[in-house]
Structures are given as structure tokens and as C-alpha cells.
């Protein structure tokens, strides 16, 4: 286990579309200030944004944990929400359970989880229907220059 250089928890309320993106913006500037490489920052920002939008779109509330070690940036999103009955199906690009209102705003295109997978080096999703979802991602410092 590498030593943690930075750790923080960011609470997010469900349904607050107006502020959606604030937490991921903060995460992006924190990582930049820590001197993390630009490609890792780019990937982390995308993962943080998608995680934040998922909480805002589907959950009652949730928390994003950001941790940075010399080897990796980890973004972990844990929410209290409806959960995902079929994770494999939810991972498919284009699959979405978003409401028409959410879709009209350009969210809910069924690209969130697949983008999280695409831009992370490891991804672990656990979910319990009626309880919530926990998405853990890791981006290795070395693999993205």
C-alpha cells in the first residue's frame, strides 16, 4: 500500500443539476496543484465528472473520495440510491435509465459508466438494489504520461 499524499471527501446532493460539475472542477484543480501529470488529470476529471453526474441524476446523496498516492489517483463514488440491478447491462454504452428531463439536458446518454471504465486503469462496481452503489476507480500515474 503506497503512502497517501492527499485524501478528501466531497459530499454531493442528488438532483442538484445546477451545481453539477463543481466537485469535479475542484478535484481537477486539486490534482493540478499537486503537480499530477496533465494526462492523469484529464482522465481523473472525466471520471470525477461522470461519477458526480451519476449521483446527481440517480441518487439521493453520495460522496466522492479522492485519494492520491505516489503511484495512483483513486476516485471512489459511494451513494445512497436505487442501486443497479444488472451491472453488466448498465456498463453497456447507450444503456440508460435516465428520465426524459435528464436526457434533454444532454445527460443520461448511457456513456457515464463506460467512460469511467475507458479512462480508468481499474474499476470495481458493487451495488445493492434499494441501498446504493459504490464505484471504485484507479488511474496509475505511470501508465499515462
Amino acid at each position: 500500500m503506497s503512502e497517501i499524499r492527499y485524501e478528501n471527501f466531497f459530499p454531493i446532493e442528488g438532483g442538484t443539476f445546477v451545481n453539477a460539475g463543481d466537485v469535479s472542477s475542484r478535484i481537477k484543480s486539486i490534482l493540478k496543484n499537486l503537480g499530477v501529470g496533465s494526462e492523469v488529470v484529464r482522465r481523473a476529471a472525466i471520471i470525477a465528472y461522470e461519477s458526480e453526474i451519476n449521483i446527481v441524476s440517480y441518487a439521493l446523496r453520495g460522496t466522492i473520495r479522492l485519494s492520491v498516492t505516489p503511484d495512483a489517483v483513486c476516485i471512489e463514488a459511494k451513494d445512497e440510491g436505487p442501486g443497479i440491478p444488472d451491472i453488466e447491462l448498465a456498463m453497456q454504452e447507450g444503456f440508460s435509465t435516465a428520465t426524459p428531463m435528464v436526457r434533454e439536458m444532454g445527460f443520461g446518454a448511457g456513456m457515464g459508466l463506460s467512460n469511467i471504465k475507458k479512462f480508468s486503469d481499474s474499476l470495481e462496481i458493487t451495488s445493492e438494489v434499494g441501498q446504493g452503489t459504490h464505484v471504485k476507480t484507479r488511474i496509475n500515474m505511470a501508465e499515462a504520461g
Binding site: 443539476f17 445546477v18 453539477a20 460539475g21 463543481d22 469535479s24 472542477s25 481537477k28 476529471a45 472525466i46 465528472y49 461522470e50 453526474i53 439536458m105 444532454g106 445527460f107 446518454a109 456513456m111 457515464g112 467512460n115 475507458k118 479512462f119
Partner: protein, 111 residues
């Protein structure tokens, strides 16, 4: 190419933040799906979209776009403009559609 030059040649309306017109446009991206824009656009892009709600500013800030261009006469809601002013992201507007806007801007940048 400077944003100012593109705005002048295509007669774009500056809806917000003319102090940002000196920004350098490095490329462009067309999209209305925010996940697509987040994943695939690049820093310095001029983002062409039909979306007008405040979340477009958050995406443009995160991706460090040079500006947002609203096509087909899209009018941003007031909250979008106030956020753009706060973040200093220029918002431009045009009556033409995304296809024409992208084609014309591409042509200017790749003569």
C-alpha cells in the same frame, strides 16, 4: 487562430465575455451529449452546441475550451451567462446550424 478572427469572419454574436476574444482556438468539437464532450473534446477547442443550460459552462471550464458557440439562434438562460462571466468563458452565438458552423470554422482553420 484567435477567437476574435473567427468571430469577425463568421459574424458571430458575442453573448458573453468579450475580454476572452483574444483566446487561441486550437481546434473544435461538436456535441450536445455532455459525456461525449467530456470524454472526447480537447483543451483549447471551440465547442459547438445546441445546449443552452448552465451545465455547459461547467463542462467548458473542466475541458478548458476556448469558447462555446451556440448554434441555430440558441439563447443561453441567464444562469448560464452569469456562470460564464464568473468563469470567464466566452459564449458566442449564430443563426446557422452546427453543420455549417463546423464546416466554416474548419475551413478557416485549415485553409
Amino acid at each position: 487562430m484567435k477567437l476574435e478572427e473567427i468571430a469577425g469572419k463568421l459574424n458571430l454574436r458575442v453573448l458573453c465575455c468579450d475580454e476572452g476574444l483574444s483566446r487561441e482556438v486550437r481546434g473544435g468539437f461538436v456535441g450536445d451529449l455532455l459525456s461525449d464532450v467530456m470524454a472526447n473534446s480537447r483543451e483549447g477547442d471551440l465547442w459547438i452546441t445546441r445546449q443552452v443550460h448552465p451545465n455547459i459552462v461547467a463542462v467548458a471550464v473542466m475541458k478548458e475550451h476556448s469558447a462555446i458557440l451556440l448554434v441555430q439562434g440558441g439563447i443561453p438562460v441567464e444562469d448560464t451567462l452569469s456562470r460564464a462571466r464568473k468563469e470567464g468563458i466566452p459564449i458566442l452565438g449564430t443563426e446557422i446550424n452546427g453543420f455549417e458552423a463546423a464546416g466554416k470554422i474548419y475551413g478557416l482553420m485549415n485553409p
